[in-house]
Symmetry: C7
């Protein structure tokens, strides 16, 4: 089954805390807005590539409580507006 | 009887939980914003096809509490702004 | 006496519940936003025909509590912004 | 003394309830937004004639609590944004 | 000393109630938004002359609580956005 | 050390009450929005010169509680959006 | 590991209070909006260079509570919208 995000939304596979990028990675100082990690699965037709130049497979950070969580075949996904994605994470 | 959505609205036939796409499909983690499933019945004249490229018959997800529910001839429908449709679902 | 709506407003004659389109027609599931039926009587000069392609005599649905109700010669009318009209209803 | 409305405002002479257009005229069903009647006295320089095609002398309806009431030489006037005028009333 | 309003602001000399235009002039019906009188002293560089065609020396009405009051050499002034000026008053 | 305001911001040196322009100068009538005085130190790259035609050295008025106060080398400064500057003050 | 800010965001390395630019530097008068110091690490693809002409390595001030704090390899970073950066600080 395929989920195709509409408009300027992006579909992310949510990355569980234990699988995140590295041991040394982010640990938010304030609890109020915890960044999360996800992997880009699909990109909506109205996402502006110049503003949010993402590709499928990219690992990204997003603010907690952004978007709508869904579960497909036992996996956690997130449909999020591209403008709510904070940053791409690249391993060196 | 025909319901023609105005502006950028879309008319959806609401899909009951027992008829949804697959056994493994979404089960929202947080109760606050449960995604729902619907089938596109009619598309308003001002829906932007580049942003929300839907066709009649497409199966879509939308956030609960979006749009206005109506009942016609015993069937549940939803009139929803195209911008509130989260994603199209395609069976593989 | 003639009522000419200004701007992007539409004048509707409110259709009483007992006169609505068909026996099988809509019965809103949630009470919070009950759709109503009306007949288009006059269209304001700034209504965009591409977005809301209505003609005098069309039967439409609108969300309860939209617009301003008035009574003229004993009949109930509604002055409503064209953008608040949900859909046109056509009998087959 | 002359009052010239600025911007997209219109100056109306408020019509008292007893002088309104006809016996059969409007009687708002809900008290929350009572339409009122006024006569156009002056039109501001930035009123869009295509959206609100009014002329001095026209009789109009507007929602209660719109605009700013003033009294000049014992008469009640209203300075109201043209966009808050609901409709023009024409006697047949 | 000269006060030059910035942006779309206008500098008004506030006219005290006893000095207002005429005996018969406005007496607001509701207390919630009392119109006041002022004389135009200076006009900011970004005021649109087509929307608010004022000249220095014009007498205007504005809603109470608009703008910022200042006192210069014992006189009361007001710095107000041109869009908050309701009307110009002209003696016949 | 140099502070360069970003965007449409302006850097002002705050002028203490005892150093203000003249004995007769402003004394706000209502306490709720006290205008303050400052001297323009630097102008951000996105300030529109036609709307807010300021130069370094100009003395300006701004509403209290606008902007962000900072202290550099014992002096009080303010970083303020150009649109929040009310007026320029010129000595005759 | 590399963090690439998306949209009009900027990645800053937060500068601790003891490492700030100089002894004489800012000490906010009011506690409600304390400016902070950071160093520009990366600039998003949609930051407007004419409005916010920053370069990697620049030292900037930003209002407290702007942006989202993250920790990478033990260092504190901030992902902030370029429009929330108040000023660049240059040593003489």
């Amino acid at each position: 089954m395929q989920i195709e995000p509409m408009g300027s939304r992006v579909l992310l596979k949510i990355i569980e805390e234990e699988d995140r990028t590295s041991a040394g990675i982010y640990l938010p100082e304030t609890a109020k807005e915890k960044p999360q990690e996800g992997e880009v699965v699909a990109i909506g037709p109205d996402v502006d590539e110049d503003e949010v130049p993402l590709e499928v497979g990219d690992r990204v950070m997003y603010a907690k409580y952004s978007g709508t969580e869904i579960k497909v075949d036992g996996e956690q996904y997130l449909i999020i507006d591209a403008g709510d994605i904070l940053a791409r994470i690249r391993k060196d």
